[in-house]
């Protein structure tokens, strides 16, 4: 698992472990979807066919469309796209899908950057959805119900997805503690200014103001 076939350089162990952990998270039942549904959705999202495949997965085509657009055309995702998904399958399912597809993009685009073959998706694990959904959250001029706070907490309607998302920051970018240091540098590796150039140009292309 995660041999990064095709990459010209070895990959840091912490980054590899993050990818292994993320794959394990994907394979397990989520708050609204079974493990097999999660894997089927991610497979379809990779192929830009989630809207077409959605009903066979047990989701509405509008949620499939959300997955496709988010993976392949993120700038096209707006309140209408998200609200249609939430109206059809519920807020928790929409947030679960946003989290899954976004986390998949972190792993897949890292592979793309390295020139490595994409990792096959994991085998799903059995069991019903967990039903773990936070209560009392509301939309705060957002597309989805969120707690007050910055972007790392926006998935916390479904706390297990939120935790998996936050766990990816350190190995892919910086931990929260490291982000407090303007002069942070990996040695050997990039310093913070170099990292921020990559992040800025990526965000500019994705038309993401935030």
């Amino acid at each position: 698992m995660f041999a990064y076939t095709g990459a010209p350089v070895p990959v840091r162990p912490d980054l590899r472990y993050s990818h292994i952990s993320t794959w394990g998270h994907f394979s397990r039942p989520g708050p609204t979807l079974r493990g097999d549904q999660r894997i089927d959705l991610l497979d379809s999202a990779r192929a830009d066919s989630a809207e077409r495949d959605a009903e066979g997965i047990g989701l509405s085509p509008t949620t499939g469309a959300l997955a496709d657009h988010l993976m392949h055309r993120p700038a096209s995702v707006n309140e209408t796209v998200v609200r249609r998904s939430a109206a059809a399958d519920g807020d928790a399912a929409a947030v679960e899908v946003i989290g899954l597809v976004s986390m998949l993009s972190a792993v897949d685009f890292t592979h793309l950057g390295l020139g490595a073959d994409l990792e096959p998706l994991p085998q799903p694990q059995p069991g019903p959805p967990t039903g773990v959904v936070a209560e009392g959250l509301k939309r705060r001029r957002t597309h989805i119900p969120v707690p007050p706070g910055p972007i790392p907490v926006v998935l916390d309607l479904v706390p297990d997805e939120g935790a998996a998302f936050q766990a990816m920051f350190g190995p892919h970018y910086m931990t929260g503690w490291e982000m407090a240091l303007d002069g942070f540098a990996r040695n050997p590796g990039l310093d913070r200014a170099q990292m921020e150039l990559v992040s800025s140009r990526t965000s500019l292309h994705n038309e993401c103001f935030y």
């Binding site: 946003i98 685009f109 920051f169 892919h172 200014a193 038309e207």
Partner: protein
């Protein structure tokens, strides 16, 4: 964060390089890193060549970091778009010069 980190390392950052990678960024290896993102997202040049240049100029660990930051912000951009996390109008005005320099006004969704 870019401006603060560049100042921390005393780099003569030209922020316009983020908008136009032909402008020297003032950050060591910075223009290579910008070209890497462009090669991946808009197919401006062969990515293998840019990877080789990054490894030769910045080291093999730098290529891993570059790819992982690219992956991280591919994720963060999607989280932002999916959640619709708002940008306060006051924050936009506070950074008006930067918004105008980088042409970000069209990306603001209030």
């Amino acid at each position: 964060m870019l401006r603060a980190s560049a100042a921390s390392f005393s780099y003569p950052l030209d922020i316009e390089a983020v908008r136009d990678p032909s402008i020297p960024s003032g950050v060591p290896g910075g223009n290579l890193l910008l070209r890497f993102v462009d090669a991946l997202l808009i197919d401006t040049e062969p990515v293998d060549h840019i990877r080789e240049l990054i490894v030769n100029d910045l080291g093999p660990e730098a290529l891993v970091d570059t790819a992982s930051v690219f992956g991280n912000f591919s994720m963060m951009n999607r989280i932002a778009e999916g959640s619709g996390i708002p940008i306060a109008a006051a924050a936009v005005e506070r950074e008006r010069a930067l918004v105008d320099t980088l042409g970000l006004a069209d990306f603001v969704k209030h």
